[in-house]
């Protein structure tokens, strides 16, 4: 029987990875340093929580999937997940490990619960995971991951309610698992940003802070906001924040917000929230 020991919501962006690698063409390296410093407590928190597995709800950015077949929900079943080349070469980081013995029963339970996932035996991972992961867990990464890729690039995308329900189904699947796993559920996306159109580069720090303040205890208020309104005030790509509801849905009501941090380093609001189950496990 497995347990969800905590949840992590965190932003992703290509620049975060470039700044982490110390590339010279990064704007505002000092602001990125403040972000990395702000993640130090998250790194300690994960080390103390000692998760055996991470389930990560994320989105690909046309770096693995193309439009010939575009899955709404896809789950990575393999024992290895290589890094995707996004067009500027791979970063000096290792492949990610999967654990098929853990993944298969979780995936089976999710399908029984009504989530008809696309099974991927091959899956290359882009900055959706690679940008933030080395900032919060030192490579080589000690725990395997189970990636769930959600369509966030083409409307219609799954609704906020559906994503929350995915998280709840994930919690049951982990509880029913034959593997005695201590699972950290991670969701990554956003926050405010738009990378095209006349609104290219728009951000909304007021909204980002509001979202971070509400996600742990007042998520019902947040999830009631139509995603179209979120996209209006926080940018079309802020729609990725809906994935954070899957992380929250995987947690109980008996939780404590361990940490949160926010900064706007460039043109994407970067926030993090760490939530832990009060009864441990």
């Amino acid at each position: 029987m497995g347990h969800v020991v905590g949840g992590l919501g965190i932003a992703h962006t290509p620049s975060m990875g470039h700044a982490f690698d110390g590339r010279k063409d990064v704007a505002f390296p000092e602001r990125w340093q403040r972000w990395f410093d702000g993640l130090a407590p998250v790194k300690r928190w994960i080390a103390e929580l000692k998760p055996s597995h991470m389930v990560i709800i994320y989105n690909d950015h046309l770096n693995y999937f193309d439009f010939s077949v575009y899955p709404t929900f896809a789950i990575g079943m393999a024992a290895k997940f290589p890094q995707a080349d996004e067009g500027w070469g791979k970063r000096p980081l290792p492949d990610l490990d999967g654990d098929p013995g853990f993944s298969a029963p979780v995936a089976t339970s999710l399908v029984s619960d009504g989530f008809d996932l696309t099974f991927c035996q091959e899956l290359e991972i882009d900055h959706g995971i690679y940008s933030w992961l080395p900032c919060v867990v030192e490579p080589p990464w000690p725990m395997p991951i189970l990636p769930i890729a959600v369509n966030m690039v083409m409307q219609p995308v799954p609704t906020a309610g559906r994503l929350h329900a995915l998280g709840a189904a994930l919690r049951s699947a982990i509880a029913d698992s034959p593997v005695d796993a201590r699972v950290l559920v991670v969701a990554t996306g956003g926050m405010s940003h738009q990378i095209h159109g006349l609104r290219f580069g728009m951000t909304n720090q007021t909204f980002d802070q509001y979202f971070l303040d509400k996600i742990t205890h007042d998520w019902r208020e947040l999830i009631a906001v139509p995603m179209t309104k979120v996209m209006q005030v926080a940018g079309t790509e802020a729609g990725e924040l809906a994935m954070w509801y899957a992380m929250r849905g995987a947690l109980s009501e008996n939780v404590r917000q361990a940490y949160s941090f926010y900064i706007l380093p460039e043109i994407t609001g970067c926030g993090v929230v760490a939530i832990e189950e009060r009864d441990g496990a």
Partner: protein
């Protein structure tokens, strides 16, 4: 304070925003698949060696090919190109995403930072006038 949902700063319609949907995906399928193919180094080399030939292989229209040659990033997105695909064309040519962004904002790259300062919005979703449909 509320703001009308049709204020230009909040519009999800062109040219403020180009929300990509499955209908556009069908219409601009070849353009996007070509652009996405450039994530592979071999395809980038083929494109750089002979742009028109590489695009013809993917069955792009003359309008699309001309627009790529003109580096008209805004035009390509308005034709149904997904921005995450179109920037792969830009990256192949050594053009940064922020340069693509400046083109879309209609400002010089050197003016982009100043321009962006004016784009910050501090509204919450509940501040938008609820008139009309969500």
């Amino acid at each position: 304070m509320t703001r009308d949902r049709n204020h230009p700063d909040l519009l999800l319609d062109a040219p403020s925003s180009f929300v990509f949907d499955v209908r556009k995906c069908t219409e601009a399928y070849r353009l996007n698949q070509f652009a996405i193919s450039l994530k592979d180094a071999a395809n980038r080399e083929r494109f750089l060696a002979d742009e028109r030939a590489a695009m013809a292989t993917f069955g792009l229209t003359d309008v699309e090919i001309d627009m790529v040659e003109a580096r008209d990033w805004t035009g390509l997105v308005s034709l149904g190109g997904h921005v995450l695909a179109i920037v792969k064309i830009a990256y192949s040519l050594g053009v940064l995403h922020h340069e693509v962004g400046a083109h879309m904002c209609g400002v010089a790259y050197s003016e982009l930072r100043e321009h962006q300062k004016a784009l910050g919005i501090d509204l919450l979703p509940q501040d938008i006038d609820a008139d009309g449909h969500d």
